[in-house]
């Protein structure tokens, strides 16, 4: 068997076509890295542009009365304060935070809108004849407000933060507050404390985005835990929950370690990302899966059809080997070649990424998250990429086996390749979407294309198709592989070599 495999490898690696495919891979990798589609567009909400509606709002204010007037004025005063600072100043970024809200039972909750709350107390006391604000509250509000203004005006962001933290802690002690609210206040406090601890001023940089995303994903986790959307399966909900928790942990790690690079890997946390060699390298198999698949399809269809069409199959079949041994040797040779191709793609991506983006980013290892335990995972970049590659190997093996079956049934090389590529694209791209429909799920869980990519199980992940687990995927894949191989060997055993080979 070993010598048969050796023969197949000689035939494969002495063909020009394999090197042509690898050359095309290099071109594809260079082009993709240059185009850089992972570079996200700038988030339009992340800006500190002037509020240009102030004058309009002042005019409209004249038409308001009563509580509406007060609310509108408070809003206007907040915006005027915001506009009084320069664009991209920390003050504007800090005041930007006060604009975000969440809604509970139809009510906008604004726990960290401290300045706005103070302005509300002040305006309400001054303008509302029926105000419930006491004089003491009014006086305190004015004092607190002035402290905020002083911190903003004296460029003292740490004082500003301390004021925020103090206010939030006071809010926690009020009566009409739910546990969910407490959680959200705590996250705000935690973020402000992290700013102080790690010296992260308000700005538009990656550290700030990590803080924003940390909070955002906390909210996502809370929502999924307490108000799960009924339209999705529990499996899907749990998967999303685990991913959001993983995102939180990664954000926190990046903040604590002062990382100025995107470590979100497959989780795509950072929108203001700067793609570097490391990020591209980590996503090697995500981007270039199709290259390996095309090589696998080409190899495994031609490894039989070309022998048949060029009649060298006669040579093979008159040698002292069982036909099943011949098929297995071809399968093994294809697998070895795919492994070589995977290594090739990894190395090329490493080099191309380094040349285009610089090699410095490779110093930072892979940082991921165990989706089960929440623990962070640290490993060498190559180790990670190889693990991902190996987890996709079952998919490539099944494709090889399927292609060999098609090649054995159909002696036409081009037709076999095109047919297999179409089936692959349908199975890999379209079927997973259909599988999300509950009514199709009973059947979809047995599609081999929903089960063959084991990278989705790495580090405690789960499939997003309900009814599919690691173990069920192994069983489904083994069954399909066995069927493909059995049919191939069965057909090959019955092959008769006439002038027009059948």
């Amino acid at each position: 068997m070993i010598k048969l495999v050796q023969n197949e490898l000689i035939k494969i690696f002495k063909r020009r076509s394999i090197y042509f495919l690898l050359f095309l891979s290099i071109i594809a990798i260079i082009v993709y890295n240059n185009i850089n589609p992972d570079q996200n567009p700038i988030d339009p909400l992340r800006n500190t542009q002037d509020i240009i509606l102030i004058k309009d709002m002042e005019e409209k204010l004249k038409q308001k009365t009563g509580q509406e007037y007060i609310d509108y004025k408070v809003n206007l005063d907040s915006l005027k304060l915001y506009n009084s600072y320069q664009e991209n100043s920390w003050q504007r970024w800090a005041l930007n935070e006060e604009r975000g809200t969440y809604v509970r039972e139809g009510i906008e909750i604004k726990f960290n809108h401290n300045i706005e709350r103070l302005l509300n107390n002040i305006n309400d006391y001054e303008l509302n004849p029926n105000t419930e604000i006491t004089k003491e509250e009014y006086e305190n509000s004015k004092i607190e407000y002035n402290k905020y203004i002083e911190a903003l005006n004296t460029d003292n962001w740490k004082d500003f933060l301390n004021l925020k933290i103090k206010d939030l802690k006071e809010i926690k002690n009020t009566n009409d507050i739910t546990n969910i609210d407490i959680g959200r206040i705590n996250i705000d406090i935690e973020i402000y404390e992290m700013r102080l601890k790690y010296n992260i001023n308000f700005d538009n940089n990656i550290q700030n985005e990590y803080l924003d995303r940390y909070k955002e994903h906390y909210y996502d986790v809370q929502t999924n835990e307490n108000f799960p959307y009924s339209g999705f399966s529990q499996t899907f909900i749990n998967k999303n929950l685990n991913e959001d928790r993983a995102r939180m942990n990664l954000c926190k790690y990046a903040i604590e370690n002062n990382l100025n690079t995107d470590i979100s890997n497959e989780l795509y946390i950072i929108s203001n990302n700067e793609i570097n060699a490391r990020t591209s390298f980590i996503r090697t198999f995500e981007h270039f899966d199709l290259i390996i698949v095309i090589i696998a399809i080409y190899l495994s269809t031609t490894i039989i059809t070309e022998e048949v069409n060029k009649k060298t199959i006669k040579n093979l079949l008159t040698k002292p080997h069982k036909r099943s041994t011949i098929i297995m040797s071809k399968l093994i040779a294809c697998i070895i070649t795919i492994l070589v191709s995977m290594v090739f793609v990894i190395i090329v991506q490493y080099i191309v990424g380094g040349v285009i983006f610089g090699f410095d980013s490779y110093k930072l290892e892979y940082i991921g998250c165990n989706y089960n335990t929440g623990e962070l995972i640290h490993m060498n970049l190559f180790e990670y990429v190889i693990i991902v590659g190996l987890s996709k190997l079952p998919m490539y093996i099944i494709i090889i086996a399927f292609c060999m079956l098609i090649g054995t049934l159909n002696n036409h090389t081009s037709m076999s390749m095109i047919l297999t590529l179409i089936i692959f694209l349908i199975g890999y791209r379209i079927l997973p979407e259909w599988s999300k429909v509950e009514s199709l799920n009973v059947v979809a869980r047995y599609f081999v294309t929903n089960n063959w990519d084991f990278s989705k199980y790495l580090f405690g992940q789960v499939s997003d198709t309900s009814g599919i687990s690691l173990y069920s995927s192994i069983v489904v894949c083994l069954i399909h592989l066995s069927i493909f191989l059995y049919l191939t060997i069965h057909k090959f055993n019955r092959k008769e070599i006439y002038n027009n080979i059948s």
């Binding site: 048969l4 002495k14 060029k310 009649k311 060298t312 002292p320 019955r494 008769e496 070599i497």
Partner: protein, 301 residues
Amino acid sequence: MKVLECNNLKKQVKNKIIVQDISFSVNKGDVVGLLGPNGAGKTTIIKLILGLIKISEGRVLINGYNIEKDFVKAIDKVGAIVESPDLYMYLSGYDNLKITANNYKNISKDRILEVARIVGLDNRIKDKVSTYSLGMRQRLGIAEAIINSPELLILDEPTNGLDIEGTIEMRNLIKSLSNQGIAILISSHNLTEIDNLCNRIIAIKSGKMVTDETIDEFKQISNESSYIFELNNVENVDKILQNYKFEIIDKNKIRIYISKEKVSELTKKFLTNNYQVYLVQEEQFTSEEAFIKKVGENKID
């Protein structure tokens, strides 16, 4: 000792019988020629022997092993070229031999170079087969067939594409192989070649065996010997040849069916009767003549 034994081989595809009642054997040292017109079934028989197509009825034994039940053992000591050498054109001659060698145990690099030298390709063995001439590819095919020192060699048109020198070398090679005790089965349309190489002929027509004879037996059309007399003229020879069976070939030659012992007596008789005798020659049929007489004209079924 029988190296190859075919017993009542039959191949039927749907309702069409391709070959039937094919029974023959090839012993050690035999060089057996498989003859027949196009479409007679020669290649089919070879493919049945080699397991390339399924046997409908009958069996093939190679060194006692059934080709269907014990394929690996049966085919282990067989070398073959079927229809034409099956070579990987994009590989070198050496790589093709290497690939063939890898199918067997204990075939060293030296053996590869040795067979390359035997077939006269040692200077071009590292070149790609796509650069070879037809004759060179034929030689390479032969080299592949003998690389495992086979006990049974099956060759389909072995001198196809070879020049005169190559043909002579090939014949010498085949002869030396048979002298080593290798059983050889040759399928060929070249009757002169068969004549020169083979000690037995199996003639096939319309999927059936017509004859399985030695070369001499094959060429003997009748039991009688015949002699060609070339005379100054053949007028009135019937008076002298009253007791003999004869045929006038042309104005100077007659064919007379007599035994060897009667030749000198008849010669004297011609001379006595004032005939001049220029030539007396025992008549030998060529393989072509014998083939046409025994197998018939070329007719594709």
